[in-house]
């Protein structure tokens, strides 16, 4: 067996070091996913709804649906 000594390994502060690394990682992961969701999903959805209702005419849609014959309470106009 050779008599060269190995360097002494790290004996203390292991949990502290792990916590420091992982708390930073957890903050980044959670904030990152929240930001991605807000700007990837929530904001486009709000914009889509706003645009839809800006130029929507409920009566026009109703007449189109009536002509297609999906209602039971009203019939298409020329029937």
């Amino acid at each position: 067996m050779s008599s060269t000594l190995l360097p002494k390994p790290q004996m203390r502060g292991l949990l502290g070091k792990r916590l420091r690394v992982h708390i930073v990682g957890a903050l980044i992961a959670s904030l990152g996913s929240a930001i991605l969701y807000k700007y990837g999903v929530a904001e486009p959805r709000k914009r889509a709804y706003a645009d839809f209702y800006k130029n929507s005419d409920a009566m026009k849609d109703f007449e189109a649906m009536r002509e297609a014959g999906v209602f039971e309470s009203v019939q298409p106009k020329n029937s």
Binding site: R45, A48, Y49, F52, A64, A68, V70
Partner: protein, 175 residues
């Protein structure tokens, strides 16, 4: 001691029940029965989770092994490398590398998994042909087309969903 098993065999034979235990009892200890480990004293084990067993591997030592153990009581610098390895092998059966060696078991496991997948596939196919009833009429292409038209007429999910993908002016799906 020998009369008791013989008695038991007689009773069982009379009752017409012959199991493996009664046959073993009838033959007695004819020499090919394995010796039982004495479970009441500490045992040797090779275990990754508890690395230092309670007893050494070789409990009875030969003459030159005893001499080596005497030499071990002195300074270890006088031991050669072969002697150190011999002392290790007296105390332990397998090294950690040997006990943790990988095996090819995963191939058997994976192969067995795929065999059962295949068998299940064949069974499901047979079931589709001979057991299951015909598909409902609502799953024909004709019906599905009528269903899609009705959903578009009703404007289902017109903002981000189904009807949002249909162009009502050109009567086609949006590109």
């Amino acid at each position: 001691m020998l009369s008791l098993p013989a008695l038991r065999v007689g009773t069982l034979a009379r009752r017409g029940v012959l199991g493996a235990a009664s046959i073993r009892a009838a033959h007695g200890h004819s020499g090919h029965v394995a010796t039982q480990e004495d479970m009441s004293v500490p045992q040797y084990y090779d275990k990754r989770s508890s690395p230092l067993p309670d007893v050494p591997y070789h409990k009875e030592l030969g003459a030159e092994q005893k001499a080596l153990k005497e030499k071990e009581k002195g300074s270890w610098k006088q031991l050669s490398n072969e002697e150190k390895v011999a002392l290790y092998r007296l105390k332990f059966n397998q090294t950690f590398a040997e006990m943790n060696r990988p095996s090819s078991e995963w191939k058997t496991v994976l192969g067995g998994i795929f065999v059962f997948f295949g068998f299940t596939g064949l069974y499901v196919w047979w079931q589709r042909v001979y057991v299951l009833p015909p598909k409902p009429h609502t799953l024909t292409d004709e019906w599905k087309a009528q269903q899609v038209k009705r959903m578009l007429d009703m404007r289902t999910n017109p903002i981000q969903g189904f009807s949002a993908k249909w162009d009502y002016d050109k009567s086609e799906w949006k590109k």
